[in-house]
Symmetry: C2
Subunit: 213 residues, 2 copies
């Protein structure tokens, strides 16, 4: 299985099946079983060290959160947070975002969060950006009709690219802030990265977009 | 007629019929007659003192420009510029933008420029913003199919509002810069206002949107 070559991380993740879902393909179409309730499921693609998804889960007990993270080096920190937080409504998946359809079917997910995603600034890496059209199609294929993407970043180039990508895909721009920390937006939960960069005076860009049927 | 109560401005505008079109309703559907050629027509709604439209006309002799401005106090300066510039491809209309359909019919205009439009920041004044949906409909009704709006402003709130308004209207976001003067965008022609505010380090936001058929 996928963790074969990462013995240390795999071993620790394996010790906490209540937080790190070992065989997520088992729950495709049945995520309510994992959480023990039919609440909406919000996923964060690229959850990093897990501060966002953990604090969102704490603030919103009626929503089920799943943090998706490929890299061992950070997901282990996210796991430590979850062990500490002891929340029933947040889980981790140590998988690649491009394989989301192996774990979720149409309607399984209500919202996708993208926070400070890798900008992949070179044109030849456009397809790796999590707001590239193929990813927008992938999210659509696992979300409910009218599902939403909530996206924030400090990277101006990625934000410019993403707003255009959303427009070309036909997504509706339902919220936009070009300077989140100076706006009247309430209830912002910061990522580790956001805390660090906004403290330096860096602008944070944020938007919400919605799929139209 | 509309200039009755502005004798001084009206008189001066009336002395230069080659630059200030006195009875624009006459040319509805026939703007090629005014310019003596069938080149594309780009209008600037709220042309102010006319620097943008004059310099665009100088830089692009194969495009016909029309600057539309309601206020006497500034259109007189725009007229002085045109007298000085002696360009055949730029005209002024001293009319209200909400009456555009009196002067233009479907297909008369190829592109609309909106530069540093009044932000009308209060919610109750939303309908006055030149990117409000009723104005987007108005521009559509006088433009060719696939017509474009090119918009720039230093006002963050107006830009946020406008990108959402464009999205709800179904316009395609074909260009976006969140910091125009630090971007690699070439050929930017500045307005008087833009020169002043960008010199203070104020960011300029710019986008292009396209009507989809």
């Amino acid at each position: 299985m996928r963790l074969r070559h990462k013995p240390w991380a795999g071993e620790k993740l394996g010790q906490y099946p209540q937080y790190a879902i070992a065989e997520p393909e088992t729950y495709k179409g049945h995520w309510a079983e994992v959480f023990g309730n039919p609440n909406p499921v919000h996923i964060e693609v690229g959850t990093g060290k897990g501060q966002f998804v953990t604090e969102m889960a704490r603030a919103n007990p009626d929503v089920n959160y799943i943090g998706i993270e490929l890299y061992d080096s950070v997901i282990i920190t996210a796991l430590d947070r979850l062990i500490e937080a002891e929340l029933p409504n947040v889980k981790l998946l140590n998988v690649n975002a491009k394989d989301l359809k192996e774990y979720f079917e149409k309607g399984d997910v209500d919202r996708v969060y993208l926070n400070f995603s890798d900008p992949w600034p070179k044109n030849r890496h456009e397809k790796r950006r999590l707001t590239y059209k193929d990813f927008l199609k992938l999210y659509e294929e696992i979300m409910v009709d009218g599902g939403e993407i909530h996206f924030k970043t400090d990277n101006q180039g990625l934000f410019e690219y993403s707003l255009q990508s959303f427009s070309y895909y036909g997504l509706l721009l339902t919220f936009l802030s070009l300077d989140l920390h100076k706006s009247d937006f309430e209830g912002n939960i910061m990522t580790e990265y956001e805390e660090k960069f906004s403290a330096k005076g860096q602008r944070i860009y944020r938007c919400e977009v919605k799929y139209q049927s």
